[in-house]
Symmetry: C2
Subunit: 565 residues, 2 copies
């Protein structure tokens, strides 16, 4: 045995190879071994849905970097002198002896592999509900290359007519799109009252509406009770309320759990989330063992609470930190997450960073939120709509989180907000932000800056905002309320909300004040397309003595309910 440091990494998808590569860069002499259950290494697992959907067709693209070679054991040895042992399972850890018991899954042969530092990157496992019929053929997750190959075959064969996707999180929504792109009629079933739990309800509802617009049927607030089958193959899904959805395919996407069994069995500390507990150096309760990626729990930087954040980008960053610390001792840290995420939904995107209104409330923070909408760039440059919700701490104005959905450039918006949160910025820091502006890229007042302006106006008490949900509940509840649509007649003719609203185009408002309630304390709600004109209407009405005027935030474009056409 040489005197070189022995680094053993368990897990070969994202965090593991990254940790191994970083360790190699910093120590050319170390003996580095990666233990990987699957035949493949370094898979671009976030790309699975797009390969399934036929957005690209080269399977090897999931296994290589750019135009480079497939990252197989020969590649890892040739380029990085990393011994990658695929189809090999880490069965147990002897922490005292500092060895990992491994089993070759092809031969069954076992072997003790000694380590000086061990890095666990065992990933997550998809949750599978313990319900009747779950083992029928035609039921799959979308978690690994086997699942991916299975679903891609279905894509290529074009024989499947109907599918049910169970679970409306990121993977579920991505699976819906992939299956639609495979010519399959899709129903999405979600137990919770909304899909995409990183969004607040009304933002998620906009995405639900868009999925329906793309012919994905979406059922929320309904779980699955059983899978029914015929001849061992799934033929339908029975929901909690008894509904039966015929299908030849069901994709389970109800979430993932940290794959922390090996750590737990080795006596390492595991948290309430099910994730391995690590410190900021990515070190477990055993100083010789690090853990990274989907198998750990991570600190949420705003709440300070541990959270399970199974994101590919964080896995890579954590792997980089553990790889360095494993060879150099604890020198670098991974501070935590603000739960930034984004998801393609056909020609829309949905993204969020930080806390949403619900999670801010759950964290005991006194938050104020606002919804706004605008194009991402000028209409004449092909600008597309963005609808955002900004959440800030009431007293300080500190940015707690932001959500953004729509066909526009959601990616830039969420990236901006993520950086703003990282910099601990407040609304007042952002109202005059200096962002890259030219008509091909943004509005003169960028959508994000506009959101800060709206929030500033709200915090100063100038814009009294009311959410679409409150408006809907008020109207449905039959409360006396005067609703003004401030848009132009053409816009109104094309589509309207049907709340018993009165059309008073903004340019005519000053001359039509006599049509408003005489009672200056009457509740009045104004809206327009994005509620900018409605804000001007509110200011005019307040100047004329009305005391209870509200702007419906986000206007018509952010209205999550039915409309009249």
């Amino acid at each position: 045995m040489s005197g070189n440091k022995r680094i053993v990494v368990v897990g070969g998808v994202a965090a593991g190879p990254k940790a191994a590569s970083k360790a190699r860069r910093l120590d050319q002499q170390a003996e580095i071994t990666v233990i990987q259950r699957e035949p493949e290494l370094s898979m671009a697992s976030c790309g699975y849905p797009y390969y399934v959907g036929g957005l690209f067709n080269d399977r090897n693209a999931l296994l290589s970097a750019g135009t480079g070679p497939v990252r197989d054991p020969a590649y890892f040895w040739g380029v990085k002198r990393i011994m990658a042992r695929t189809e090999t399972e880490a069965v147990a850890i002897d922490r005292e002896g500092k060895t990992v018991l491994c089993r070759d899954m092809r031969t069954g042969a076992t072997e003790q592999i000694a380590y000086d530092r061990l890095i666990l990157a065992t990933g997550a496992v998809p949750s599978v509900p313990p319900i009747p019929g779950v083992d029928l053929e035609g039921i799959t997750t979308l978690h690994n290359m086997t699942d991916t190959d299975y679903l891609r075959r279905i894509h290529d064969e074009r024989k499947t007519a109907k599918a049910v996707v169970i679970g409306g999180g990121l993977i579920g929504v991505e699976a819906c799109e992939a299956l639609r792109e495979s010519g399959i009629q899709v129903t999405l079933v979600e137990l919770q009252p909304q899909i995409l739990s990183f969004l607040d309800w009304e933002m998620a509802k906009l995405i639900k509406n868009h999925l329906r617009h793309k012919s994905v049927e979406v059922i929320t607030g309904n779980g699955i009770a059983a899978f029914l089958g015929d001849d061992g193959r799934v033929t339908s899904v029975r929901l909690g309320d008894g509904t039966e959805l015929p299908c030849e395919l069901a994709v389970l996407a109800i979430g993932v759990r940290p794959n922390s069994a090996l750590a737990r069995e080795s006596g390492l500390a595991v948290g309430a989330t099910g994730g391995v507990i690590v410190n900021e150096y990515m070190q477990t309760s055993d100083e010789n063992i690090y853990a990274v990626g989907d198998c750990i729990e991570t600190k949420h930087l705003t709440t300070g609470e541990p959270t399970h954040a199974p994101f590919g980008d964080l896995a890579n960053l954590q792997g980089r930190v553990a790889g360095e610390n494993a060879v150099l001792g604890n020198t670098v840290t991974f501070p935590g997450t603000i739960a930034t995420g984004i998801c393609k939904v056909f020609d829309y995107a949905a993204g969020a960073t930080g806390l949403n209104e619900g999670s801010a409330r759950d964290a005991g923070l006194d938050a104020v939120a606002v919804i706004g909408a605008s194009l991402d760039k000028p209409g004449y440059m092909g600008g597309q709509l963005l609808i955002s919700k900004l959440v800030v701490e009431k007293k300080s104005g500190r940015i707690l989180g932001a959500q953004c959905v729509g066909p526009g450039d959601v990616s830039r918006q969420i990236a901006q907000w993520a950086m703003a949160i990282r910099g601990d910025l407040a609304v007042e820091d952002l109202v005059n932000a200096d962002l890259p502006y030219a008509p091909p890229f943004s509005l003169a007042i960028d959508h994000g800056i506009m959101m800060a302006h709206i929030m500033q106006n709200k915090r100063k008490g100038r814009l009294k905002g009311i959410s679409a949900r409150e408006v809907k509940e008020t109207v449905d509840g039959g409360a006396p309320i005067f609703v003004i649509d401030c848009r132009d007649p053409e816009e109104y003719r094309e589509m309207r909300l049907g709340l018993g609203e009165k059309l008073i185009p903004l340019p005519t408002l000053r001359d039509r004040l006599d049509e408003l309630p005489e009672d200056k304390n009457a509740e009045i709600i104004c809206y327009c397309r994005v509620s900018l004109r409605a804000y001007e209407a509110l200011l005019i009405l307040e100047a004329n003595g009305w005391k209870n005027v509200w702007v419906m935030e986000g206007g018509v474009v952010a209205w999550p309910y039915e409309r009249e056409r």
Copy 2:
């Protein structure tokens, strides 16, 4: 005369109407007047080049918001109760009497308009060089609607064969594209050694190369001496070195100066930049007079120095601040600029925020810079190249500035960096940034985070970087140097730099160490496509005893000089 506050705004393009609108929102009683020289109001002047180039064809799109009505005096009165007086010139200010002498440019009639608060938004004037022939027909700027209409006619007529654009700033580069889209052969002439001065030389050179690739001839380091003409029409441009460029059209884009004559003549303080001096409330040296937009100078937030920053986004933000302060007293501030900008260059973009390496040095800052390249998202999702240069303060690692060019999503990158600078973040804050990742939007390790990683490696002394320029100068100077191309043979066959380099693909390096200089102190330079493999090569060589190994930053894709094919 009523007792209402009288607000007079001089200038009706961007900052002026914004100030007037904000004032109206906060004071429904104020008498608000906008004085505008041109017949149009509220023009989307940043959109002129795209209308000229035919990217869109509706002239009214430049004069309206989205699908809304044209913002003419009737609109301003009807919707906002703002009196907009177009084709009216503000001739003089009587600061003691608090009146503006105005002249109706159609009738010549003059009138004194009284103000309580005056807001100057007089914009900028394009610089016109005092050289022979500059008044010939066929010579224009691209600054106002008249210029725009003129150039759009040329676009539509398709009769012009050759044009010269003078000045390689943002407008000049945008004009080149617009003229190419008009079927015109274009030569761009720039007096300085590089175009796009917000970029460092080697980044600008990449854009110069791209312009040439798009059939725009680019001549740098050469000024214009005269315009030659025939029958009153321009026929060619004579350069400083005597070259004559035949053309039927010349577009002057050598920059703009603050239009501060009215302020200066009124005795208001004007700075060395030529811009009106204002405090953070946008207030001039006269407490009753505010100034905003392209006519003022603004504080650069990093250097603290006054700068002329004629950007449409800042004009709007400043207008918003002045509008509020004019009616409410000084309550809100505009802190300054970090000179964020972006420019479309055909299918590329070029953007920057903060200081570049040159301006950081000029500001006396001890800066360190690095160049890096990657795709913006995975290749399988159609990822496009981004090449960035990151500039940080040497000691603290504080981000001073970033530049980014390429066909990829430059907009998000620059927006991220702008927010990072606003949050006063340092490299160590960004190596683990939590940004929106999904394959349709970014790499698992976002390009910007990768830049932070490279900078971190450089600051820790792990990555010894050398710029392409230094490599070129060293090779051209004949210094003994051993250059290794670490790419694969296929990449090398397709294109190479031709520096006398030796092809040693990274996977073969460990077995070919005997081909390297015996002298362990020999200077060795490694590169690959983006210099990630080259970094691994450096680490291998250092581990084998070579002491002077350098990575050429940015690799082949950032090489600004000729290549061999």
